[in-house]
Symmetry: C2
Subunit: 391 residues, 2 copies
């Protein structure tokens, strides 16, 4: 059974369902949203999609939170001609782990995003021009607090589960410490409770690379595409950190695009790994904004669940939800050891934590790839939460 | 005993000895040096230093080969005012593992370098201007073949040992497969027999970053300093790969340079790890040339001891020297597993190989830092070689 195999006909799949993003707007002046920094921002648009139906007692909602370059479009297609469905379509749909026959799934583009939610590409109401780098510094906690507004707007005051990987996992954990009574379960995947110095280092190098591109122009490049070359190189670095040495060796080895011996010493002759990274870089540029990338990376750098919660251990001890950590053995960007550590701190504090390790050569990105391995595990955890909630 | 402690007075230390780089020139037209690619290059200057005295039967010579941004100045000072001695001074000197009372140490700046040996900053005899990016693509094997010319010039046809780390270790291995009968010992440290796809990926990202800087100007920036910002960012990335997550966490953690709470959300407020990397980047720019960096990285990418030797395993099997591999447990750029693998392939082929693991949190760069741990091990191996040679 391949990752892309069709699901049994008749049950339907979100892969063929047309989903419609919606917008919720809040924080109209003078009632702007107050960021963690104290800065005021508003109005804020938040773009989101939902899959499935909210039940009568509003107890079956699951919030999915996305990673750095993903968005609110987690499942289905927005138009029949879309080449691919949403980024977690393999997990979301009728009969899938996030079963849309039973659960009401919500996914929104994060604060500071570039897919419709207010961010650096949005118009700054005080200037009438896009914010660019005047967009305020925000945090993972701000993303979560904005999602809280959306949930309230949807008439929901309790979530069955919050789940996501990477930057999504950071939001999951921040949900757990900021609104500890609001959910039954948390599923942080391939993530950490606080960015390490090495994590910050990679982000700073990516930011500097974007800002080195003259087309960045201090963030003032709209309506142009901006620093395409810089963003592309940043993405190349990101991709290396999202995969593994083992995977690259297996997939590309030392093969060159032009493998004639006489081309070996040609400076322009790329190794296949180089071609692959250039392709990935160019692909991101088509769909992502550079200032947004810079500030999202900054938000990640500021990620530390201990801040405002008495430190890292106290924050973890304050989590009330049943937490299911998923680490990836080959993930060297957010090494499993930190997830194991978090689960152990929680257990010592009498919290409900479990850790499961996804065995995969794919590195950090395995949570977007290894659906066959994840499905039974995710399904069983979601069903356990549902059973406990009487769903 | 600290790494920087003075040695016993009276024995002298290279830290206080004034060493004088010398130049050997060869490959005068029409007898240019023929690169592996078939391109001709000449004349070639090779800058080198020697420490100690060549014995009567010319049997006590040890060749030290350097890493990416190092040079021929491995020990002593070139002037009394020099702040620090050469890069391996802690290992080279009277009574040290590379004992200059007993051995004749040689270290040269590699082909393509920027410290005096012919490279991109040298004048192209056909144009009268610096080569820049017109400098031909060369390889690790070319570096080694140029060193062979120097050794011949010094009247030496056998080396007791060739030793070096990182790109130096690549040269060590290339020496072993290109001139298998020319040495008693090889000491490759924190290196590999062929660059992996991930290694190449990091190099390509560094090259692209330098080339993104408008001051690079397709390599035509002399006599200016050129793409300082791009080279600095490349070095920042290099430094991350040379150290470890563990080290950065211990040394910098999540501390910010301005640690007042109100500065936390300031985009310009750097984490200490960011400051450190920027400092390292700026420091490299003062002493290194960008085109040289680009082409040295390309030479590394082409590194594969199997090329021209019937493949990786056959190449290792052809090594005749007693080989002492040193890996660093926290080195994720050139993971120890590849060094273990090389030692095992050699042993299966009845070669003389040993592997020793340096335990250190310092990552790849440990071979430039952990001198206390390395000294006894290196000394004992060198003494064994000397004893066998009757020195």
């Amino acid at each position: 059974m391949s990752n892309k195999s069709p699901y049994s006909p008749g049950t339907g799949t979100y892969g063929e369902v047309i989903t419609q993003p919606r917008i919720f707007t809040f924080g109209q002046p003078p009632n702007e949203f107050v960021l963690e920094s104290g800065q005021r921002l508003g109005p804020i648009d938040i773009v989101y999609e939902t899959y499935g139906t909210l039940n009568a007692d509003r107890s079956n909602a699951i919030l999915i939170v996305h990673a750095l370059t993903m968005d609110h479009h987690a499942a289905g297609k927005n138009a029949p001609a879309d080449k691919a469905p949403g980024w977690w379509d393999d997990l979301i749909g009728p009969g899938k782990p996030f079963d849309t026959n039973r659960f009401y799934m919500i996914c929104s583009n994060v604060l500071g995003g570039c897919r419709g939610t207010t961010g650096p590409t949005s118009l700054n109401p005080t200037t009438g021009k896009p914010f660019g780098m005047d967009f305020p510094v925000y945090t993972i906690k701000d993303m979560v607090r904005v999602q809280r507004e959306l949930i309230r707007h949807l008439g929901i005051d309790h979530l069955l589960l919050v789940a996501g990987g990477s930057m999504g996992g950071m939001q999951v954990l921040e949900w757990g410490v900021t609104f500890p009574e609001m959910m039954d379960g948390l599923m942080p995947i391939a993530t950490s409770g606080r960015m390490t110095a090495q994590n910050i280092a990679f982000n700073e190098i990516m930011r500097q690379t974007i800002m080195l591109d003259p087309a960045w122009n201090r963030g003032d490049y709209y309506p142009g595409t901006g620093p395409a070359a810089g963003l592309s190189i940043a993405r190349m670095l990101g991709m290396v950190t999202y995969r593994s040495d083992e995977l690259f060796t297996a997939r590309f080895g030392r093969r060159m695009t032009n493998h004639y011996p006489e081309a070996y010493y040609n400076f322009e002759n790329r190794f296949e790994i180089e071609s692959y990274l250039h392709y990935q870089g160019e692909k991101l540029v088509e769909r992502f904004d550079a200032n947004t990338y810079i500030l999202l990376c900054k938000a990640m750098d500021l990620h530390d669940i201990g801040r405002g919660h008495g430190g890292y251990e106290a924050a973890l001890a304050s989590i009330q939800a049943q937490t299911y950590f998923i680490g990836v053995d080959s993930d060297w960007l957010y090494p499993p050891l930190y997830m194991v550590e978090m689960a152990e701190i929680m257990k010592k504090a009498k919290g409900q934590a479990e850790y499961w390790e996804l065995k995969s050569p794919h590195g950090h990105d395995a949570f977007l790839i290894e659906f066959e391995k994840m499905r039974p595990v995710v399904a069983s955890y979601v069903q356990e939460l549902a059973r406990k909630r009487g769903l």
